[in-house]
Each structure stands twice: as C-alpha cells, then as structure tokens.
C-alpha cells in the first residue's frame, strides 16, 4: 500500500450559490409570512371583537382606567352631552355610557380607552381655541368607539406580537416585529383615523348645525409640525394636510354651512 499525494481541486463541503441571494430569498419569505400573519390576526380580531359584550369591555376598561388620574372638566362634559344627544338610535354608541376627563400631559393628543373613557391631554386643551374644535376632537374619539377601533387596535397588536414571537423566536422578532407592526399597522390605522374624522364631522354638524371649527385645529397643528411626508408613510395618523383636505372636501360635497364658532370659556375655577 502506497501513498499517492493528490490535491483536491474542488471543495464539495461548501454549497455553491451566493449567500446574499439566500438572504434575499429568506427575508422575502419571512416578510410575506409576516404580512400573512398580520392579515390573519387582523381578520381574527375584527370578527372576534363583535362578540365581546359591552359589559365585559366595561369591566376591562374599569381595570385599565381605574388608576388614571383623570380630572373632570365641565366644558368637556357639556360637549360630550351635546354630542351624545345626536347618536342615531340604531348605532352601538346610543346605548353606551361615556366618561370624559383630562390628564395632565404636554402631548397634543386624545385617546379612546376601552370601557367608554375618553382622555384629553392638557397639552391639547391648550391648543384648542373654540368649543367647536373641541367638539370635533371628542366626536373623532366617539367615532373610534362607534367603529370599535379601541378594541381592534389593542387586539391586533397583541395577537400579532404573540404570534410573530412564536414563529420567529425571541431573537429576531424583538428587532424586526416592532418595525413591521408599525409599518403594517400604519396603513390600517390611518384608515381608522380617517373614518373617525368623518364620523366626528357628521356628529359636529348634527350637534351645532354647521361645520365651523372642523378643520381649524388640524390647520394649526399642520403649521406647527411641518414634518416630512416620508415620516408619515409609517405614522399611525394621516398627515394633517391630508386630513384637512378630506374634511374640507366632505364639507363641500355635503353642502354643510360653516358659521362662526362658539368661544371656549376660560379654565373653570376648581
């Protein structure tokens, strides 16, 4: 037995093909999977939300909002009462009980929480110039309740987060899903916001008889925050200018009058 040294020309233990191409294939497969997962989660949540009884939601909301430092404001209560009188008798909002209050935060925002609680941030209240503007914002939040957005949003984010974590594993999902949740959710959420805007507008017109103050607030915000269009591709709310345009077009199409606004009274004594 003799040894014959011979060199190996080809490495059979390493597969051919570009690793980058591999990465492209795997990534696109994963993105497709995530999109599918998101759609499925959304469909599941949307159809499930209809079966949640309001009593259970109120209980859930009670737990969530119990330790919120919510201070009452007679001006907000007044607006809410005025809008509540305009619900159509056949809609879900008609039989519900709503609560409204202020939280001391600088953010210019208002949120609809499960259980019928509307929270207005004090930062927003400072920006508001008339009662009609505030009524538009409260109407917008009531729109979220009418479309059950407050539940679907919570459910979608929760379910998608859990499902993607199960499929992708902790390591990848922590970095990637946050981005995908935001991006995928953004377009859905923008549609919700626009629908709530339109609901709020029609409620405003019904309660006050005209559409005055519907766009004033958004115009002021748009001037204040001149953020680029690019950032709004993944933002949860539509670009303020788009909101203004849609609202103005609707007002024009319906032929609603725009009259003078009612001034918001100064901060009431505590």
């Amino acid at each position: 037995m003799k040894f014959k040294p011979r060199p190996l020309a080809r490495n059979v233990n390493v597969s051919q093909g570009s690793r980058l191409w591999d990465l492209c294939l795997l990534l696109s497969g994963m993105v497709a999977g995530l999109v599918l997962l998101f759609i499925l989660a959304g469909f599941f949540v949307d159809s499930l939300v209809k079966f949640i009884p309001p009593s259970y939601e109120d209980l859930l909301g009670h737990h969530l909002t119990n330790n919120l430092d919510l201070s009452e404001d007679p001006r907000l209560d007044h607006i809410l009462q005025r809008l509540e009188g305009e619900f159509a008798p056949d809609e879900a909002n008609h039989t519900r009980h709503f609560r409204i209050g202020i939280i001391d935060r600088e953010e210019i925002n208002a949120v609809a929480l499960p259980g019928g609680t509307i929270v207005v941030f004090s930062g927003l209240l400072k920006e508001v110039a008339s009662e009609n503007e505030l009524a538009m914002i409260v109407g917008h939040e009531l729109g979220h309740f009418a479309h059950q957005d407050h539940l679907t949003r919570l459910g979608r984010v929760l379910l998608f987060g859990i499902a993607s974590r199960l499929v992708l594993g902790e390591a990848i999902s922590s970095r990637l899903t946050a981005f995908f949740t935001r991006t995928l959710h953004a377009s859905y959420s923008r549609r919700q916001e626009t629908a709530a805007d339109l609901y709020g507008l029609s409620l405003l017109v019904k309660a006050y008889g005209h559409a005055g103050g519907a766009v004033d607030f958004f115009i002021r915000i748009a001037e204040r925050r001149r953020s680029g269009r690019l950032a709004h591709l993944v933002a949860s709310h539509p670009h303020p200018e788009d909101r203004i345009e849609i609202l103005k077009k609707t007002i024009q199409a319906k032929g609603w009058p725009v009259s003078s606004k009612i001034a918001l009274p100064e901060t009431p004594p505590p």
Binding site: P7, R19, L20, D22, G169, L176, F179, V234
Partner: protein, 166 residues
C-alpha cells in the same frame, strides 16, 4: 427624517451589523481559505488516514500522538442567515464554511505538529457544537474541531534527520 431614524433604531442596528458581518466576514473567510490552501499544498506529502497502518516494525523510528485544534467564530451575517434558515428549514449554507474551515485548520495544525513524519494513522476528528447558545443574543457562537492521531516516523524517510519529539 431624523424622526424616522429614531423610530427604527433597532432595525438600523440590525442592518449595520449584518452589513458589517458580511463585508468583514467574507474578507476574513477568503483570506483564511487562501492560507489553508497554501499550507495544505505544502503538507500534501504527509497523509493523515483513519486506518491503522501496517508498516513492518523495523522501519519505524518512532511514533507519537499528535493533535491540533481550532476554534472559528461565526459572524453576524452568518448568524442572522442561520436564524432565518431555522424558520424555513433546509441546508444551513452559512455554517458550512465554518465547520469546513475549522476542520481543515485543525488537521493542518495536527500535521504541522509532526514535522518529518511519514504518516498520521488512526486519525479521529471531534467537533464541539457552535455553542447551543449561538442563536441567542450576546452569546459567543463558535465551532471547535479537534484532530488527533498517531504520527509515525520512518528510518528510511528522506527527512529522517528531522527532529523526533518523544
């Protein structure tokens, strides 16, 4: 724009690490393969075999167990690719070069520790996992290979003047 960057810090970090892992990792790997090929060519005349060699006793000047080992680390790109591959299943190409490199390096080191030997017999290879924690965050992922065998020096070998370390 800055807002957009701030929102996606996690994703951008990932992108940066994957790019870094790919460029530097590929460079390091290419260089390692070049060096492997050069040294393998130089040590081509020293065979390492898995069989027990039957040289007649009087020809043998001496024998000794020799070993060589190497630990090769994965890079971020490979790790990311392997994690994705874990979802879909199939051939984990990114780790193939890793085990290949560590094995060849270990064999070369074993051969290099037996200068002047005619043959290394009954060679065995041992591979330690790329750390079961390789897929987890902040864990070191690497593969260790140990090659060991018995080197045999012959009296009639042309390089019999070479040192025999016994």
């Amino acid at each position: 724009m800055i807002e957009l960057i701030m929102q996606n810090v996690g994703l951008l970090t990932l992108l940066f690490l994957v790019t870094l892992g790919y460029t530097v990792g590929t460079l390091v790997e290419k260089r390692h393969y070049r060096s492997l090929m050069k040294r393998e060519q130089a040590l081509l005349t020293l065979p390492a075999v898995t069989i027990k060699h039957d040289q007649s006793v009087d020809e043998i000047r001496g024998s000794m167990m020799v070993s060589g080992s190497a630990v090769i680390s994965i890079d971020y790109f490979k790790r990311f690719l392997a994690r994705l591959r874990n979802i879909f299943g199939g051939r984990v190409k990114s780790y193939e070069t890793l085990v290949d490199r560590s094995r060849r390096e270990a064999i070369l080191r074993m051969k290099a520790s037996a200068p002047g030997a005619a043959i290394i017999v009954n060679m065995r290879l041992e591979t330690a996992a790329i750390g079961n924690s390789a897929n987890q965050k902040r864990m070191i992922g690497s593969v260790e290979t140990l090659a060991y065998g018995t080197a045999i020096w012959l009296r009639t070998s042309p390089t019999s003047e070479a040192p025999l370390k016994i």
